[in-house]
């Protein structure tokens, strides 16, 4: 019951957002929602079915290109399709692409499966620039959304509501899929392949269908991106897009239905906000990912569920430990960020030019303070912060461990 209430309020918040937020923030939300859908689609294959794909950008892009071509056809009057239904074309293209690629990829399993998906995506990425008529060459393809009834689609908000509708619908469909017998079979593929075939199901066909469905929703996500930006370019096929969906999904947690959504939403906002503050935002994104993989292997969503559970069970000692760990954890993070930011400012080309010209090391500005790079304190403060924070974390964990030995698991080594 509580869960439905939570979902309803999230949807209400999404619907009400444009009333209070500026056009730019609505634009950021739109891209974040697309990333959410892509991660959810990816997780169907990689999380629920346990087939880790390293080339999912291919299906995302196929959907995007299909939608752009459809939009161009609509613009020229060659095709009749109401503007809000355009992303459907991306879904169909993604499904077809996914079934074809899935047929080959699912011949193999485990690491071999991942390698096939990687090779397929790499090949498509290598061939795309040569096929100018389909992929538009370096500058890509562009088009324009046509008005539909009272929606003129020149407005940010119209686009936003269309994206919200599609994302909510698709997530609903993904949820419904999981409830069906086939949805259960999907988990079966991950947990006990052999049993699935003993039960009389054709394992290969099952895998192809799962691959196809995942690619279909990825295609819709790609189509929504093309629909939003009214353009697409072959660079979207690159490894970067495939990598970021992996990052999103596992940061959020692949074991929880909404996990990938959490990860994608957090990282999309992170990219949008932090990139204006520091050029090292990709590094922080990577460190965050490694940290989550090491210390809370099943992702942010699972952490949240665990905290909720501890509240329900009135497990105060576990909650106390978490509360105790938070300040030193933040201290370590602050120390690391300070250290990296100072380093990056000093290694900056412009700074190096000043140093070589004046033979002096001028202070660098960070958080509104001036830091003298030759002073010992500048480096000692963040290093001490990291040391003290790490020490406190260690202390808190070992004390909790002494108090309740079995709960040492809380330190992060949760059994799955």
């Amino acid at each position: 019951m509580m869960r439905i209430g939570l979902l309803a309020s999230i949807v209400a918040l999404l619907l009400g957002a444009p009333l209070v937020l500026s056009g730019h923030v609505v634009g950021v939300l739109t891209t974040a929602l697309i990333a959410v859908l892509f991660a959810m689609a990816f997780n169907l294959l990689s999380g629920r079915a346990g087939m880790l794909s390293f080339g999912h950008a291919a299906y995302f892009a196929i959907g995007g290109f299909a939608v752009i071509h459809a939009m161009q056809a609509v613009e020229k009057g060659l095709l009749w399709l109401p503007t809000p239904l355009l992303p459907l074309v991306g879904g169909v293209a993604g499904l077809i692409g996914g079934l074809c690629a899935g047929y080959f990829a699912t011949l193999r399993s485990g690491v071999y499966f991942s390698m096939v998906t990687l090779a397929l995506a790499e090949l498509l990425h290598a061939i795309a620039p040569n096929l100018g008529s389909i992929f538009g060459g370096e500058v890509g393809l562009t088009t324009m959304r046509m008005p539909w009834t009272s929606f003129d689609y020149g407005n940010e908000v119209h686009v936003y509501y269309t994206v919200v509708a599609w994302v909510v619908l698709c997530i609903g469909l993904l949820y419904a899929y999981n409830q069906t017998l086939f949805g259960r079979l999907t988990v079966g593929v991950r947990e006990a392949e052999r049993r699935v075939s003993f039960l009389g199901y054709n394992l290969h066909h099952t895998k192809i269908i799962v691959f196809g469905v995942s690619a279909m929703f990825s295609g819709i996500a790609g189509g929504l991106l093309a629909f939003t930006t009214e353009s697409i370019n072959y660079s979207i096929l690159g490894m970067g897009m495939s990598a970021s969906v992996v990052l999103h999904t596992f940061v959020g947690g692949s074991g929880v239905f909404f996990g990938p959504a959490v990860g994608a939403f957090v990282f999309a906002l992170f990219g949008s906000l932090v990139s204006d503050m520091t050029k090292n935002w990709l590094l922080y994104q990577g460190i965050l990912f490694v940290g989550i993989m090491m210390f809370m292997g099943d992702g942010l969503a699972m952490l949240w569920l665990r905290i909720v559970n501890e509240f329900k069970e009135r497990n105060w000692s576990a909650l106390k430990l978490r509360a105790l760990l938070l300040p030193p954890g933040l201290l370590v993070a602050a120390g690391v960020v300070t250290l990296l930011e100072l380093t990056s400012r000093i290694l900056d080309q412009q700074y190096a030019a000043i140093v070589s010209r004046t033979k002096a090391w001028p202070p660098v500005s960070l958080y509104g303070f001036n830091w003298n790079p030759t002073a010992l304190a500048t480096w000692l403060v963040p290093i001490l912060a990291i040391g003290a924070g790490a020490g406190l974390v260690f202390l808190a964990i070992s004390r909790a461990g002494r108090e309740a030995a079995p709960r040492a698991a809380l330190a992060g080594e949760h059994a799955r």
Binding site: S22, G27, A126, N130, E138, V139, T229, S231, D276, N280
Partner: protein, 413 residues
């Protein structure tokens, strides 16, 4: 990253602070890849803009107010750039400047066109100051976008003519380029102008972009073709590795290229780059006294001698400045359409010659500098003992290529 130039704006504000009637300031947004793999390519473009806007503000700004510049990180993605463009428009920017990555340029150009269609009277202007792709003044040409960059045809035309004049063009030309639209345009231009200069194309290769680890097989191929001159539009690692493989094999041929001056390239190529010919929009040795004044002034403001793309965006932005001066009225409103119309008619005199726009396709007409990697260059780069010695300046008339018939520009009534 954002509001980097606010300090210059504030400094200028002190000068203008006394103005009685406060007009709406002109806001310019620079959208560039400040992070990710393209960042270092992008920074020189931005430095040029920073220098030029500082200079314009010193000379009086626009409408009696200093010009406000805000910088946005495109994250080097088209979707990111589209998002930042919206942010810039929301912040009140009326002129957008962007340079690196043709895909992003295409995205912004289209978004600007659509925005202007949907928001009549609140138009914005787009200055593409670095994208070399020929499409922007052909299929993708539009009234609201002005291109202060060349394209493969302009560059190769100037390169081949200068190489011929200085005896560096042999009779057998091999053309090696990257396999995507830009490289393909280069291949076409090289075939066209080499033929015009009376040379024969003995071989031509398109290879994967930025994926080749070892170019020595290509060098073996070139050796086998018997070529005495190589023309290439390669950039980045692809030209560095190629030049090194060429040097390793000890093949003595003439080389003409467009990107030998990327930061770090000369030091990575080492002595194997000596004698190679570079075609670029500017060379610091050009223009005698005026050139020196520019170089010293730039160094005084930015901290180093202008290098790579810095002069290009500086002059491009100063050309925009000429148009701004023309329509500027103290206390007046920002009228972008008037700025755009003025831009079609003004010119800027760079130390190397005159810069102006062609009305038909908004392509920049400009003098092109052809230089040679040499130890005798006046300005040494990358901490090496090498630099770019000016061979020849090709005049705007001689470097211009005809308007592409595919350019159909919708002009505002």
């Amino acid at each position: 990253m954002k509001k980097y130039l606010v300090s210059t704006a504030v400094a200028a504000l002190c000068v203008f602070g006394s103005a009685a009637a406060r007009a709406e300031p002109l806001k310019i947004a620079v959208i560039e890849a400040f992070s990710g793999p393209n960042a270092q390519t992008a920074i020189p473009f931005v430095e040029g803009v920073r220098y030029a806007i500082g200079k314009l503000n010193k000379e009086g700004g626009f409408n009696g107010e200093p010009i406000v510049v805000t910088e946005y990180d495109s994250l080097n993605q088209t979707a990111g750039a589209a998002e930042k463009l919206k942010a810039a428009i929301a912040d009140g920017a009326r002129i957008i400047i962007q340079s690196t990555n043709s895909a992003i340029t295409a995205q912004i150009s289209e978004d600007v066109r659509k925005y202007n269609l949907r928001n009549k009277g609140k138009e914005i202007l787009f200055m593409m100051e670095g994208s070399e792709a020929a499409e922007f003044t052909a299929e993708k040409c539009q009234f609201w976008a002005f291109k202060t960059a060349s394209n493969p045809f302009i560059r190769i035309k100037a390169l081949v003519s200068a190489m011929k004049d200085t005896g560096k063009l042999g009779s057998k030309v091999y053309s090696i380029n990257q396999n995507y639209s830009y490289g393909v345009d280069h291949e076409k231009a090289q075939a066209l102008y080499a033929k015009e200069a009376g040379a024969q194309i003995v071989g031509s290769t398109l290879h994967d972009t930025a994926k080749i680890q070892d170019f020595s097989p290509y060098v073996a191929q070139i050796k086998a073709s018997g070529a005495d001159t190589i023309l290439s539009g390669n950039w980045g690692n692809d030209i560095i590795l190629f030049m090194r493989a060429l040097g390793d094999a000890g093949l003595k041929v003439n080389v003409g290229n467009t990107s030998l001056d990327t930061t770090g390239a000369l030091s990575a190529m080492g002595p194997s780059a000596l004698g190679a010919v570079l075609v670029k929009l500017y060379n610091l040795e050009a223009g005698g006294k005026a050139g020196e004044t520019f170089a010293e002034d730039f160094k005084a403001v930015i901290g180093h001698y202008p290098y790579n793309e810095e002069p290009t965006t500086a002059f491009g932005t100063l050309l925009l400045g000429e148009a701004l001066k023309k329509v500027s009225q103290p206390g007046g409103k920002v009228d972008i359409k008037a700025v755009a119309l003025a831009l079609e008619n003004v010119s800027y005199d760079s130390p190397a010659g005159r810069w102006s726009f062609r009305k038909e396709d908004h392509q920049l007409l400009l003098p092109v500098a052809v230089s040679e990697v040499s130890k005798e260059a006046r300005y040494k780069v990358d901490g090496t003992d090498m630099g770019f010695k000016l061979l020849k300046i090709v005049s705007p008339e001689d470097s211009a290529v005809p308007v592409d018939p595919k350019c159909k520009m919708d002009r505002p009534s």
